[in-house]
């Protein structure tokens, strides 16, 4: 029964959030602030994560492929893995931990200190002022982050391939580009937009409905991160099946 109630509440929240994203009034200043918060300030953590993931991927695939003399596929494996999977998923998970938690804590604190009620009494819809700009910023920022992360991740693979494994730089780059198709990058960017939506939605939802003071805000933060991570992994399969299922 509780599960059904929670599902209903989340569905209703999602519908309201989406509807307020496309109806005026808009708050461009807050949207811009959120884009900076999500897109710009997450760059270091996403960059580091994808850099080392690209490096590890090159190393692991080389040692694996060497068993059946297919070392030449390392560059292709790195670029396809990073653009299709690692880039969007790792960026999504990192942003869920960094931004999702922050959103839930901020909105949750506003809830328990009656700031959300204050918005309402000042004739300002909290969905338009708090939720819609964050969700739009999530959808817009994550693809940018993933694009940068993809480049850094491929570069990580290149560093290991060329400087540790002894590949020729030109050949490595040629192999990287040779088998890369637009759909590989596009599918990753679509995933990123979906993950950005999910992270912001979970952060806002759990923050908006938090209660019981500091303990409630703590629980909201945890729930926002955990639920966003789970939804990212589930939706990742769904989107992958949609693009590459056939």
């Amino acid at each position: 029964m509780n599960f059904l109630a929670a599902t209903g509440r989340l569905s209703s929240f999602t519908a309201a959030a989406i509807s307020h994203c496309v109806r005026p009034p808009f708050y461009p200043r807050i949207l811009f602030q959120q884009i900076i918060e999500i897109g710009f300030y997450s760059l270091p953590v996403v960059g580091l994560t994808t850099l080392f993931s690209g490096m590890v991927l090159a190393l692991q695939s080389y040692t694996g492929f060497a068993r059946f003399s297919a070392e030449g596929a390392v560059a292709t494996v790195v670029v396809l893995s990073v653009t299709r999977e690692l880039g969007p998923v790792l960026a999504g998970l990192m942003v869920a931990g960094r931004v999702g938690a922050s959103m839930a804590a901020e909105i949750g604190t506003m809830r328990v200190t009656e700031q959300i009620d204050a918005l309402t009494t000042l004739s300002t819809n909290p969905f338009k002022y708090l939720v819609a700009p964050r969700i739009l910023a999530g959808i817009l920022s994550l693809p940018f982050l993933v694009l940068v992360g993809d480049i850094i991740g491929v570069f990580g693979g290149y560093i290991i391939g060329v400087y540790k494994l002894g590949f020729n730089a030109g050949t490595y780059l040629q192999r990287t580009i040779e088998f890369l198709e637009p759909i590989d990058v596009i599918s990753g960017l679509v995933k990123a937009a979906a993950f950005g939506f999910l992270v912001a939605l979970m952060g806002c939802y759990h923050g908006y409905w938090s209660n019981r003071g500091a303990q409630g805000v703590g629980a909201a933060t945890t729930n926002a991160v955990v639920s966003a991570c789970i939804l990212i992994l589930i939706s990742n399969y769904g989107i992958t099946a949609l693009f590459f299922g056939n």
Partner: protein, 256 residues
Amino acid sequence: MRDNCEPKIRIRGLNKSFGANQVLRGLDLDVQAGESVAVIGGSGTGKSVLLKCVIGLLEPDAGTIELDGETVTGLSKTSREAMMARFGLLFQGSALFDSIPVLDNVAFGLVSAQQMPKQRAQAIALDKLAQVGLDEDVAVMYPAELSGGMRKRVALARTIASDPDILLFDEPTTGLDPIMGDVIDKLIVNCVHDLAATALTITHDMDSAKRISNRIAMLYGGRIIWSGPAVEVDTSGDPVVDQFVHGHVKGPITSG
């Protein structure tokens, strides 16, 4: 045609429950235009719930609330947002927005709801801050940098910024020392007078209730059980009111 004696706020048969806990049980209350009414009652008796029902933050389970004869319960969100402009609510914990400076806090409703140009809204906000005894130095500070009394003053300035005709005060002196409590009470009285507003205050601070209001109503068991002039509250003759006002341990009100 409206009756001249029609109350500004008329509440009839208000019921509100949270799960099995029935907080309000058929509450009736009238507040006349220009009147300042304080609703007193113990903790957990539903005072804040009453206030939130009046302003529309909570939807009652049953009963009606009328403003100037118009029923406002069950309004659509859009109509409710438009109606909010008539209200000013001072929250118990001030509820200032942490992320913006004091000046923007006070000007918030003018810019966001009334679409007033920011410069003009800030000029009004400075005027309102001066009205509650705060100068321009405070305007650039963030709420976290202010003391409890200053936060309350800023919140009061925000409450009166749009010149509402109905002012609601939720425990205005809670958490303040007696001197600051007195200062806030006087500011509230002045603001209500200057705006010629109708005021509804909820509090369990008897000194504050007597200072702020013309009339006091006692909330007990989910209903208003006594209502009368503020000067008569000490001699009401009602055992519940007497026990609450004089703070006696023994009496009809049982703790817990």
